[in-house]
């Protein structure tokens, strides 16, 4: 049924398609967003708030697993620090993470310049 709906292209399914595409577009970008903020150690909720305050909304349910994956990939290091009554897990860029961030930033600059040019209304002719 889902397939027939998609081919019927009802306004609802169009919205869903756009949602999915947006999600895919964001997926790669949020990694770079996280890496950008972790020169100083930060814990999950704090990082989420900091990113949100600067306009990058990432759901907690997306961010926490992502941090852990980046840690497993060696881009982030972690440390449990007890503050007040309870421990918090702090993340921080490793050397590999710093290198990855530089690389990704270069890619991002290039891609964003190319896309800006491509999306420029008059460049199509």
């Amino acid at each position: 049924m889902a397939k027939t709906n998609a081919t019927a292209a009802s306004p609802n399914s169009q919205d869903e398609t756009i949602d999915k595409l947006t999600l895919e577009l964001r997926r790669g970008v949020i990694v770079l967003a996280c890496l950008s903020q972790l020169d100083e150690p930060s814990y999950g909720y704090e990082l989420q708030q900091r990113l949100a305050a600067r306009g990058m909304e990432i759901e907690q349910g997306t961010l926490y697993p992502l941090l852990r994956r980046l840690e497993e990939q060696g881009l982030l290091g972690e440390e449990w620090i007890v503050e007040g009554s309870r421990p918090r897990k702090y993340y921080r860029l490793t050397d590999a993470g710093t290198r990855a961030r530089a690389e990704l930033k270069e890619q991002w600059d290039e891609m964003s310049a190319v896309l800006d040019a491509l999306l420029e209304p008059k460049s199509g002719g």
Binding site: Y43, Y45, Q60, G61, Y64, P65, R68, R69, R86, K89
Partner: protein, 344 residues
Amino acid sequence: MELIERYLEAVTTKLQPKRRGEVERELRASILDALEARGLSPDSEADVAAVLAELGEPSEVAAGYEPGQQYLIGPGLYPLFRRVIGVTLLTLVGASTLWFAVALVLSGQAEFRAGDLLRDTLETAVGAAVVAVVVIVAVFAWLQRSEVDVSARNRRGEPWDPRSLPALSGPDRASRFDSVVGLVATAVALVILGGIGEGVAEALPGAPAGLRPILRHAVLQGVMLLQAAAALSAVAHAVALMQGRWRPTTRAMRVAADALAVFVFVRAPVELVVHRAALLQADLPRNFVLSLVLTSIVIGAIGTGMIVGLSVRAWRGRYRAPGGRAAPAVSSPVPAPRRSGRNP
């Protein structure tokens, strides 16, 4: 607080054991952080519910922590897996019914209890079903594994060779479905044949003297030859499956296995007919000998007919394929019953 623990448990039970403890600690800390930052209380169920709702459904959060899905049989192979399981079990039910009917006829001569026979048949069928399912799962897990390896090799930067693409659908292409069904049917046939052979070998010393040569020649030797044919066919299918297409060697093995099976199917009734005088002299009831001969003729004719018919079909498909008309018939899913019919 209880709601938090319920949430954590719902997430962590979906994770690999090695991840659970760490994820649980971190999520708990994050939830308490969120509550604290908004001045909410961990003891208020409504407050906790609001924070947890924002965090997301446990299954989705857990999925984020387990990115690389681990499959025994992945979504790509699963439809094929279901088809093979279905066809195999259906074949097994059919074969068991046939076996029960034949055994019922054959055992009409001595003291005989239908209940025992039914129990034996069910035992054999269930045993064969277990073997079949185990073999199918093993074969598919192997396919899954080898495919995962292939993609991993490509990812590491080895250039992909377009020539490694599978052959066009057609008579030369070894269809995975065909070969997997063939392998499984062969395994089941080997189990059933083994059971028959063992039963006959046990019954041989006690059988009437006149019946013994027939049992030895028509049945025991036939069973052994069919087992050899089944094993040969299994090897041919396994090799074709690995090579992705039928080559002269594998095709020759298949033809040899077919020929061997036909030989047995033809020889058994002929032997019985030739020795019917001896059978009648061995104090066996006339109608029992008659039904024995008739059953062997019917089974032999069905087996021979299937093998010859399907070989002719495949042969015609092979040589008419360039014309285009015969090709679709060959690549259709019809071959499924062929393997199962051929091997037992």
